[in-house]
C-alpha cells in the first residue's frame, strides 16, 4: 500500500485533468421525513432512488441517520439527511428571509414551456408558486415542507465571453473598494462608478 510519503516521491503516474462535471447531489438536513418524501416523490414526482440508513458515521458524536436521494435529472440528485435523536437547531437566520432563501438550488429546465408546465403542475396541487423573470433566467419558486426555497429555472440564452469579462470587472471593482476602505462595500453606486473607470481602461486597451 502506498503511503502519502511514497506518493509524494513517486508522483502520479498519469496526469488526470481536474474538472467538475455538474451536480451529483445537493444535501440539506430535514426534520420532516414523511412530508419531505411526500413533496419530492409525490408532488414533484422525482424518483426516490437511493437511501443510506446508517449507525453513526465514524465520530462518536455523529448521530445515526438516513441519507436519501431523489433523481433530479442529468445524473443529479436532491439529498436529505434525517438525523435520529437530534433536535433541530434554532436557526439564527429567520426562515423566509432573503438571507435564508439565498441558500438554495435552482433546477434547470430546457424551455419556457417546461417552466410553465411545472408552475401549472405545482399550482394544480395547491402550492403557491412565484414566477420571476431575471436577467438570463426565468424562474419559478416553491417552498418545500422544510421551508427551503426550490427554484426551477430556464436560462434564456447561453452565457458568452462578454458576460465573462463583465463579471470579472464587477468583482474586481467591488474587491478594489473593499481593499481600499478595509471594509465591506457600502453602496452599489460605488461599485458602478468604480466599474465605469475600469471599463474605460479595458476599452482603452488594445484589442
Amino acid at each position: 500500500m502506498l503511503t502519502n510519503a511514497d506518493a509524494k516521491v513517486q508522483g502520479p503516474a498519469i496526469e488526470t485533468a481536474v474538472a467538475l462535471k455538474g451536480v451529483h447531489h445537493t444535501a440539506r438536513p430535514t426534520w420532516k421525513l414523511k412530508e419531505t418524501v411526500h413533496f419530492y416523490r409525490d408532488v414533484l414526482e422525482l424518483k426516490l432512488c437511493h437511501a443510506i440508513c446508517a449507525r453513526g458515521w465514524g465520530p462518536d458524536d455523529h448521530p445515526d441517520f438516513i441519507h436519501f436521494f431523489f433523481e433530479s435529472g442529468q445524473g443529479s440528485t436532491i439529498a436529505f439527511f434525517y438525523y435520529l435523536q437530534t433536535a433541530q437547531p434554532v436557526d439564527n437566520v429567520p426562515q423566509g428571509s432573503f438571507v435564508y432563501n439565498s441558500v438554495h438550488t435552482a433546477w434547470r429546465v430546457d424551455t419556457r414551456e417546461e417552466l410553465l408546465a411545472w408552475k401549472e403542475k405545482l399550482e394544480g396541487k395547491g402550492f403557491e408558486v412565484m414566477q420571476v423573470p431575471h436577467e438570463i433566467l426565468e424562474s419559478i419558486y416553491v417552498t418545500d415542507p422544510n421551508g427551503y426555497a426550490v427554484e426551477i429555472a430556464w436560462q434564456t440564452r447561453a452565457m458568452n465571453a462578454y458576460d465573462e469579462v463583465d463579471a470579472r470587472l464587477t468583482l474586481e471593482a467591488a474587491i478594489s473598494i473593499e481593499n481600499e476602505t478595509g471594509d465591506r462595500v457600502q453602496a452599489i453606486d460605488d461599485i458602478w462608478k468604480r466599474k465605469a473607470r475600469m471599463v474605460d481602461a479595458y476599452l482603452a486597451e488594445s484589442e
Partner: protein, 85 residues
C-alpha cells in the same frame, strides 16, 4: 457629461433602443462587448420605455456609470453630471 456602459447582450437591448430614440443621447457602437450611452444633458430612462421587468431594471447600470444618480425609482432613472469630491 453623464455616461453609462451597457453590456451588449439581448436582455439590455431595451435600454439601448430607448437611448437611440432620444435626441441628444449618443450611443456608441459595440466595443469589446460594451455599448456606451452618453449625453451632454441628464440621461433619463423609464422602465416602461425600456420594456423592463423590475429585476432587469434594477441591474441595468451594472456595466458602470460615470455620473450621479439623481433618481432611481421603480419607474424612472435619471443620471446627471458627476458631483465633484
Amino acid at each position: 457629461m453623464p455616461k453609462i456602459h451597457v453590456v451588449d447582450v439581448p436582455e439590455f437591448s431595451g435600454l439601448i433602443e430607448c437611448a437611440r430614440g432620444q435626441e441628444g443621447v449618443r450611443v456608441s457602437e459595440t466595443r469589446k462587448g460594451y455599448i456606451t450611452i452618453s449625453s451632454d444633458e441628464e440621461l433619463v430612462f423609464t422602465r416602461r420605455g425600456c420594456g423592463f421587468k423590475p429585476a432587469l431594471w434594477y441591474t441595468c447600470l451594472s456595466g458602470g456609470i460615470d455620473g450621479s444618480i439623481r433618481e432611481y425609482g421603480r419607474d424612472t432613472l435619471r443620471i446627471g453630471e458627476k458631483v465633484a469630491g
